[in-house]
């Protein structure tokens, strides 16, 4: 490709960007929102806007069990509770029925009462999974597409650095008032270089999380290729204790006693979830996993207890290499409670979005005149793709938030429940945005930016009307997640208006 190394890298950078950029933008946008997924959850699930609790007043596991066990059907394979954290003030209860399907409810940790069904997947149920599997679950298609995008991102970062030799100079160069093409390239280089370490680490760590998906044969040589070999590898690498049900009834001993035991074993480490396997069976066992709320590394520490006696059955801790793997995972998941870092991740994500969008703009502006002169369709096609994937996904996300506040609690249509309808609104608006973009060409930028600004302001208003909470009230009550989300929506509207002004001068 190209006569010199630099030229071949330039061609690679350009064409990899044009083909994968749209997918990459969607992943980056959803990933950026995922940094604040729990906070967006509070906004989207108003019943969960409970007062945050500190770790010292952890709810009683036995009281939780009393509340949830009657709701677990006979023959269920497991039930699980995720305990409240500084960012999630509710208990998340779920069980897997005999058919393997998962069901969930939320519980107030102060009253031990179930909250009403929320009718929304929230950010953790829709936006976060979109980020890593695009909701395409068949044969792991979504995860593979995300993996291709992440690998392309790494290739583009390296080729981008090689193409831009005057990297230090470009680091300090931003000419916002020049021609759009010049400004777009400056901004592309600025965000690309400034956040280069972040972008590289985030793409690589994303791949490392799913290493067993992307190298599905990695254990074939060391273990073998059967399902049993895979189970052996998973158990040795990630830890897993199993015991067959006895098919005779059995009791459940005190979970609080098991927690005390686990905390002693972990020298003060606290569990973040509790899972009861084969509930009600004489061979039932309880799994506790240690929290990583204050660590970068997402430890795999787990302890298994006999459900009837409370005796320890098995313990697991990751080996050194797997600890490195979990460090990379933690680097990507941002589950630790550090607000400064969380905001830096958010800004890093935004810089990635800006980098991808301005890369597209530079490609378009560089070819617009020539393609028009020679009657080529390239610019028209790529411009529609760019608008649909950049402003289109912002528009669809704003519509998701509006639908979240607008749909009545009992909404449902043709077998789709309220949560499903919210998600359908997202996809419908996204598809329409693509159609609009290809139909209206360059004018679509302006129209979609207006729509984004309008929907964001509308979402803030609807939150006020439907929950009675506005920014000042939320701040006064310490509901920083809700206030932050409202302010974020305002900021998005403001940025859309600024982009509109800039386009006018282009």
């Amino acid at each position: 490709m190209g006569d010199t190394f630099t030229k071949s890298m330039a061609a690679l950078h350009t064409w990899a960007g044009v083909t994968i950029g749209a997918l990459l933008f969607a992943i980056f946008w959803m990933g950026t929102l995922s940094v604040f997924s729990n906070e967006i959850d509070r906004w989207m699930l108003p019943d969960t806007r409970l007062e945050a609790r500190d770790a010292a007043t952890a709810p009683s596991l036995d009281r939780i069990a009393q509340a949830v066990v009657p709701g677990v059907p006979a023959g269920a394979r497991q039930w699980r509770v995720d305990l409240p954290t500084a960012r999630t003030p509710v208990v998340e209860f779920s069980y897997r029925g005999a058919d393997g399907a998962e069901h969930g409810r939320l519980l107030d940790p102060s009253s031990y009462a179930f909250l009403p069904p929320q009718g929304s997947a929230g950010a953790t149920g829709f936006i976060v999974p979109f980020h890593y599997h695009l909701h395409l679950n068949w044969m792991e298609t979504g995860k593979w597409l995300v993996g291709v995008a992440a690998m392309t991102m790494l290739v583009m970062l390296v080729s981008g650095v090689i193409v831009h030799k005057k990297i230090i100079a470009q680091f300090f160069t931003f000419r916002p008032r020049k021609r759009l093409q010049r400004s777009a390239l400056d901004l592309h280089n600025l965000t690309g270089v400034l956040a280069l370490p972040f972008h590289f680490a985030i793409a690589l760590s994303g791949l490392v999380i799913f290493m067993t998906i992307y190298f599905p044969q990695s254990y074939y040589g060391a273990y073998g290729s059967t399902a049993k070999d895979k189970a052996a590898f998973t158990a040795e690498a990630y830890g897993r204790y199993t015991r067959k049900p006895a098919n005779a009834p059995g009791p459940l001993a005190s979970l609080d006693a098991m927690r005390d035991r686990a905390e002693r074993e972990w020298r003060g480490g606290q569990p973040y979830f509790v899972r009861v396997w084969n509930p009600g069976d004489a061979n039932s066992y309880v799994e506790l996993r240690r929290s990583y709320a204050h660590d970068m590394t997402m430890n795999l520490d787990q302890i298994y207890f006999d459900a009837a006696t409370g005796e320890v059955l098995a313990r697991f801790e990751a080996g050194p290499v797997m600890t490195v793997q979990r460090f990379f995972s933690g680097l990507h998941f941002v589950r630790f409670e550090r607000w400064t870092l969380r905001w830096l991740y958010f800004l890093g994500g935004i810089s990635g979005c800006v980098m991808i969008a301005t890369g597209f703009l530079f490609w378009l502006e560089g070819r617009r005149a020539r393609h028009a002169k020679h009657g080529l369709a390239g610019v028209a096609v790529v411009e529609g793709l760019t608008i649909g994937s950049v402003t289109g996904i912002l528009l669809a996300t704003s519509a998701l938030f509006v639908a979240n506040r607008l749909l009545p609690a009992d909404a449902g249509y043709a077998g789709v429940d309220r949560a499903g309808m919210e998600i359908r609104v997202f996809y419908l608006v996204w598809v329409l945005a693509f159609c609009h973009a290809w139909g209206r060409c360059t004018r679509a930028w302006r129209e979609q930016l207006w729509a984004i600004a309008g929907l964001c302001v509308l979402a803030v208003g609807l939150n006020w009307v439907t929950t009675g909470e506005h920014v000042l009230k939320a701040l006064a009550q310490g509901q920083f997640a809700v206030a932050g989300m409202d302010l974020g929506l305002f900021a998005t509207a403001l940025l859309a208006m600024m982009a509109l002004r800039r386009i006018k001068r282009a």
């Binding site: 490709m1 071949s8 390296v158 290493m211 990695s218 793997q325």
Partner: protein, 93 residues
């Protein structure tokens, strides 16, 4: 170069770098895991280490595949690499 021939060369290069590079990487990961476990590493750890390094190897192979002058050399290089890995696999098995 005529247009059709140019398109074929480009297709061969993309196919070679993306799919060939992946195949060679996946093979190296599996063989590397065996080699590391033979060297005394716990086998689950060996698999994890080989898989993580696989992403870096794939990145290098991709960049080489797209920058190497002649597309024939790309296929030759990856083919030779795969043959070496295959021989190692036989040897370790």
């Amino acid at each position: 170069m005529p247009r059709a021939a140019g398109a074929t060369v480009t297709a061969l290069r993309v196919l070679g770098a993306v799919c060939g590079g992946y195949a060679l990487t996946a093979l190296t990961v599996a063989v590397g895991a065996v080699a590391l476990s033979r060297a005394g590493m716990a086998r689950s750890e060996a698999v994890a280490l080989a898989a993580m390094l696989g992403f870096v190897l794939y990145l290098v192979l991709l960049l080489w595949g797209f920058s190497v002058r002649r597309v024939g050399r790309l296929w030759l290089g990856f083919g030779a690499g795969a043959a070496v890995m295959w021989a190692l696999w036989r040897l370790l098995d």
